[in-house]
Subunit: 245 residues, 2 copies
């Protein structure tokens, strides 16, 4: 009997060329598939809930896979974790309906982007937060972030490499808060285009620095022109935080 | 004119064979001395406040050094940080009296040991906390930790490689608290022997596991016998947290 398992995982993205399998680079998908194939003695392919870019982290990431092995959930978690490298962890596992698909069934995702706002670097935040020394007015940016909330065509806010025809997405919430030297950008939406979170954060930082005004935002949305939005901030400050089904 | 600078630094110890310079391994001291010598165009030797073992981290670590270079404090911090690797940061710098000595003038230190108390590993805590799945009763250990407070001969609680003749030290406070899956052991004292913090934490974990009873503690102190205390927990959960002058 073939069963479909839904697995929650977490990873530090620093050492991986993103989630999705590639020919010539180590990815999370490849690493997990090799471990599960070894554990379950059959060729396992996993279906992820999302792609993530090189260096992006996931506090919560779901995938599903089919197996005819009779292993139980605890065996998958503990057998998998013992074989996986330290920077990937299987957090929980449950049997799902056979038609469950980690990407198609996903109803929304929440990302967090962390900026270390300090003149002085921290050895503990290297590869885990984007360091920006210029003072950030988090209250101003929290207000500006609300301009992205709702259903919009985000064509101006995704990579020009984005191959999606439909660039309309809905942002449910977008909050900017400060905890000491850390400024956290938390955005929840029904879906995100290629590089979209990193460009939204980059656009807010341009607003902070006076390079873009809040008044420009409607014009940028309407233009659908990537070059009018802010820069793409680096991947190592980005965390896939929650996935909703 | 030669000036004496007191510098506060922070480092992630994972990639270093401890603080102190060695012949055949990369250490924090060597890395900092090379950077400062390059920055200041003279041969710089730094005096650390303490040794730390391979893999031990420092949120706060002080050193002092003499230079005849006319650089100012900001030049040392920003010039140093630009040249240092990401896992070492200079936090602040001030000119000190010429007789200031980072080790001799140190009045006390606070260490924190972090245990990740969970069945499931975390990709974000690898090399930064000691994973122990067996449930920890932090209230019981907080109470037991008070047995170490005060002036005691800690001969039974230091490495047998310890070369100090006087093994009497004073612990000012020792608290065990929990934040979710993290159990934090915070100990403040006037000085610590070789491996002492790691053995104190290991002894508390033995009490947690029922391998040592609180009633045994007086006997262990009096025995001065290292073999009666708990195991030496691994270095990667240990942080030098604060240094007092």
């Amino acid at each position: 009997m073939t069963r479909n398992f839904k697995v929650k995982m977490s990873y530090l993205g620093t050492n991986y060329h993103g989630f999705q399998i590639q020919d010539n680079a180590v990815t999370v998908q490849q690493t997990v598939e090799e471990v599960l194939s070894s554990l379950l003695c059959e060729n396992i392919k996993i279906q992820g809930c999302s792609r993530t870019d090189t260096g992006v982290h996931a506090r919560e990431f779901y995938f599903n896979f089919f197996t005819s092995n009779t292993i139980n959930e605890r065996g998958i978690i503990f057998g998998g974790n013992a074989r996986l490298p330290e920077d990937i962890a299987l957090l929980s596992c449950e049997q799902a309906d056979n038609d469950f698909h980690a990407r198609y069934n996903c109803k929304g995702k929440e990302y967090e982007y962390i900026v270390h706002n300090s003149e002085i670097k921290s050895p503990f935040l290297s590869d885990r937060a984007y360091k920006s020394w210029y003072p950030i007015d988090e209250k101003k940016l929290d207000s500006a972030a609300k301009l992205f909330v709702g259903e919009h065509d985000f064509k101006a806010f995704c990579s020009t490499d984005c191959d999606k025809e439909n660039t309309v997405r809905t942002i449910y919430s977008f909050d900017v808060t400060r905890e000491g030297e850390l400024v956290k950008f938390k955005v929840h939406g029904n879906g995100f285009l290629y590089n979209m979170v990193r460009i939204l954060v980059g656009t807010l930082l341009f607003i902070n620095d006076g390079k873009i005004s809040e008044k420009d935002m409607e014009r940028i949305f309407l233009s659908k022109d990537r070059t009018l939005a802010g820069k793409t901030v680096p991947p190592h400050g980005l965390y896939l935080n929650r996935v909703f089904y």
